[in-house]
Symmetry: C2
């Protein structure tokens, strides 16, 4: 099963040639993102909450305070939607109609549940830290039992998912190319600036490889489409 099987829920309707259900395509967009937007419903009212996420196989994880309304809600195994979006550029065509955005977006559907076993919870948090900053878990002060208790980690098996992307330059109407209008793409990317050490940093503590690796990865985000 190398692709998710779309139903009416995840099938890309508009510009269906931009849609992709391959697992690897979904994973690539999800993994290249730092933040996901989690959709859930309380009493008929939809909510969209941003959160950092990570993935293992077909399971998406996110976490936060055990008192979080978002986490308490989604942990109840209710239908959820987790969307990860990258903005790769503004496409400036010769008409407003054909102007567009270059993007990669993954929409994942499923039901989340709380990871209750403390050992599994701690392993999930370790996977999160290691995904962002490989090697940092061992550098950090160990997790206290009280902290683990106050943290809610949820996992959502992706039942179905789709990726939608646009890349490349403007596609104008044939007769518009003759017009003296500038057209092209302004590439956009999330970029990291130089790390800013804490003002209370102990003298002599150097930037570790774990953090340097994250900065390097964010300077050249994996899976970014060329414009």
């Amino acid at each position: 099963m190398n692709a998710f099987v779309p139903t009416a829920r995840s099938k890309v309707k508009r510009l269906s040639e931009r849609g992709n259900y391959d697992r690897q395509a979904v994973y690539a967009v999800v993994d290249a993102g730092l933040v996901a937007h989690v959709g859930y419903t309380i009493d008929g009212q939809p909510y969209v909450t941003p959160t950092v996420h990570w993935r293992h196989g077909d399971t998406l994880f996110w976490h936060g305070s055990a008192a979080s309304r978002m986490l308490q809600t989604v942990a109840g195994c209710v239908p959820a939607c987790v969307t990860v979006t990258h903005i790769d550029g503004v496409v400036l065509a010769r008409s407003g109609f054909h102007s567009s955005i270059n993007y990669r977006s993954a929409m994942c559907f499923g039901r989340a549940e709380a990871i209750r076993d403390p050992k599994a919870k701690e392993q999930a948090l370790e996977a999160f830290v290691e995904r962002l900053t490989p090697g940092r878990w061992a550098e950090l002060r160990p997790v206290a039992a009280q902290e683990l208790k106050g943290t809610l980690v949820v996992g959502m098996t992706i039942e179905e998912a789709s990726v939608k992307t646009r890349s490349g330059g403007p596609k104008d109407d044939a007769e518009d190319y003759a017009m003296p209008i500038w057209a092209g793409v302004v590439p956009l990317r999330l970029t990291a600036d130089a790390p800013v050490p804490d003002t209370k940093l102990n003298p002599g503590v150097m930037l570790p490889d774990s953090v340097a690796a994250m900065v390097a990865a964010l300077k050249h985000p994996p899976g970014r489409s060329p414009c």
Copy 2:
């Protein structure tokens, strides 16, 4: 009325000191964003769809194909949630527990409806183009009636909204400061690279001020919090 009045729906529960309901704070986060995530529900299933947005007063606008499921759904005056998020940095504390993200996020609630009057629709689209690229509307090939017909523009009056932000360095437990662990912030920002002209650009057409202004704004996004 300089602030939105929060109800249980928009009141920031967790870390309530990070919450803000001032109109100007909401506007600043919304306007600094290129993309919003729109939450809506179909048959009990929440969906989160990314889209470009713009704002006039308390009204949020977004648009797309008249065939879009998202737009057809939200235009039905159903409860919606529109969230705009900026990721300003990764906060690396001396413990995993206090590690965090610097962010600004606005969550807006309301019900959208279609802008049906062609004149109002065109004016809304002009406002969108002018927000991103001031002066470009006049440069573009005019909108065709057929294009306007195929475009669905929705407007959502913000009934209530909240902004949540985190900025600054790590806040560690007092006893952890003595540990020889690197701590600090890796600042992040969405940045524009040099515009890439369309390969079919007419010779002699120069980059207009409208596009240059967008590139400059994205290089120094307004409202970005210092780290």
